[in-house]
């Protein structure tokens, strides 16, 4: 049985405004039988961290196009995107390019 996962989440490029204006978050994902992947993390974020207007961050099961995702400082497109299996102490960064003024 897997132990709970500790992750560091970072929101930038304006995305932090959807998360109480806080850039850095440490979260602990509960223990579960299947390994956590990015798809499940996003569902968890939507259910637990997004206070308002989830459509600004999520589109369907994935992040809205225009939001860049880095896993341990590498483009998630290289890591398997939604299929990436999270490890304890992983660092996940979300940078929005959608805000402007």
């Amino acid at each position: 049985m897997a132990a709970p996962l500790g992750l560091h989440l970072e929101f930038g490029g304006g995305a932090e405004l959807l998360f109480d204006g806080v850039k850095n978050h440490h979260v602990t994902l509960p223990d579960q039988s299947n390994p956590w992947d990015m798809k499940q993390l996003l569902a968890w974020i939507r259910g637990n961290m997004l206070k308002e207007r989830p459509e600004l961050f999520m589109q369907g099961d994935t992040v809205r196009p225009g939001i860049l995702v880095l896993i341990n400082d590498a483009d998630w497109e290289l890591m398997g995107e939604l299929d990436y299996q999270l490890q304890d102490k992983d660092n996940v960064v979300f940078i929005s390019t959608l805000h402007g003024g």
Binding site: E77, L78, G80, L98
Partner: protein, 343 residues
């Protein structure tokens, strides 16, 4: 699981380039990004040795990356340019004051002179005051028109040869889409040009060195280089029309990343039939700055604000320009159409 850099095949790749699909490590990405901008600058002949160039600096990621890369390439390839930063203060509480703090830090970090011009100083109106009169709708029109002229006027004060702005590939593609949707042929031709010509008196040429750089790469370049930039949404712009073109373009990009360059290419190759009437560049008869009409857009909008008729300049009111120029009063019916409407 980790992907190797497809260029050096030694280090771990950190991004997949949307333009080429290549996976690159940090150092190879930095080099490729910088070299492509250098290639853009040299192939388009954007600068000449000895020129003074103002970098339009807003504190955002694009102008921060532009300032960083321009300084780096100016040194690496000895362009022989004198670089300085030029900022516009729109007077938006809680937004521009914070972003200008970022520009001042950039000034220190890059050791480039900084000039700030403000709407209040040039026009007598801050954006906050404009929004009080105009309301939340259409205020971007005022800001965009004023900023463009403010940049020109600031550049003239500094006596520079060129202005460069941080418009990236995504920005240009968005503008192409918006102008297609509006059916604006004149703007469609201009919006894809990498530099404006210097024909006509008093116009300082502008160029866009980042025109072919994808926004994703600009963001990641800034992130990996740990560049200091500001990213908060303008408090008055949530309903800006551009947001729709942007969301659409991002959806296209997620399906096919080359869509952004393809849209730009389409905009560049659009041709206009012979004989179609196009605006001719001249100068405003009131302020003397660049204009394709007798009265420039800034003066029309400013007159509207000063007369308490903010809708002047929004929509089609060219017939009233003569009266404005002659400083004649408008009829009650004319005024009613131009007053702000409460929603």
């Amino acid at each position: 699981m980790p992907v190797q850099c497809s260029n050096c095949e030694q280090k771990r790749a950190v991004l997949k380039r949307p333009k080429t699909g290549h996976s690159l490590c940090k150092d190879c990405f930095f080099w490729a990004f910088e070299e492509e901008i250098h290639q853009t600058i040299t192939s388009a002949g954007l600068f000449n040795r000895g020129e003074t160039v103002a970098i339009g600096a807003s504190g955002g990621k694009d102008s921060t990356v532009l300032a960083h890369v321009m300084k780096l390439l100016n040194e690496r390839y000895d362009y022989g340019l004198k670089l300085l930063l030029l900022s516009v203060d729109e007077g938006i509480t809680g937004y521009r004051d914070d972003s200008l703090e970022t520009v001042k830090r950039n000034q220190q970090q890059y050791e480039l002179p900084l000039k700030i011009v403000s709407y209040e100083e040039l026009y007598g109106w801050t954006m906050d005051a404009i929004v009080k009169q105009v309301g939340l709708k259409n205020n971007c029109t005022f800001c965009g028109v004023f900023r463009r002229q403010a940049l020109d006027r600031g550049a003239m004060m500094l006596n520079v040869d060129k202005i460069c702005t941080g418009h990236n590939a995504d920005d240009v593609a968005e503008t192409v889409l918006m102008n297609v949707l509006r059916g604006d042929i004149a703007r469609l031709r201009r919006c894809t040009a990498i530099s404006t010509s210097s024909e006509g008196d008093g116009a300082i040429p502008r160029c866009k060195p980042l025109k072919y750089a994808y926004e994703k790469e600009i963001v990641l370049y800034a992130y990996f280089k740990k560049l200091d930039y500001f990213s908060t949404e303008c408090i008055y712009s949530p309903n800006a029309y551009r947001g729709h073109a942007r969301a659409f373009l991002k959806d296209l990009e997620s399906v096919r990343p080359s869509a952004i360059i393809d849209v730009i290419h389409s905009g560049e190759t659009l041709s206009v039939k012979e004989g179609v009437k196009m605006p001719v560049q001249g100068t405003c008869s009131r302020c003397g700055y660049i204009s394709s009409q007798a009265l420039c857009k800034s003066c029309v909008l400013l007159e509207g604000l000063n007369r308490g008729l903010p809708k002047l300049g929004i929509g089609k009111h060219h017939r009233l320009h003569g009266k404005i120029l002659a400083q004649e009063p408008l009829t009650e019916q004319e005024e009613r159409k131009l007053k702000a409407v409460d929603f």
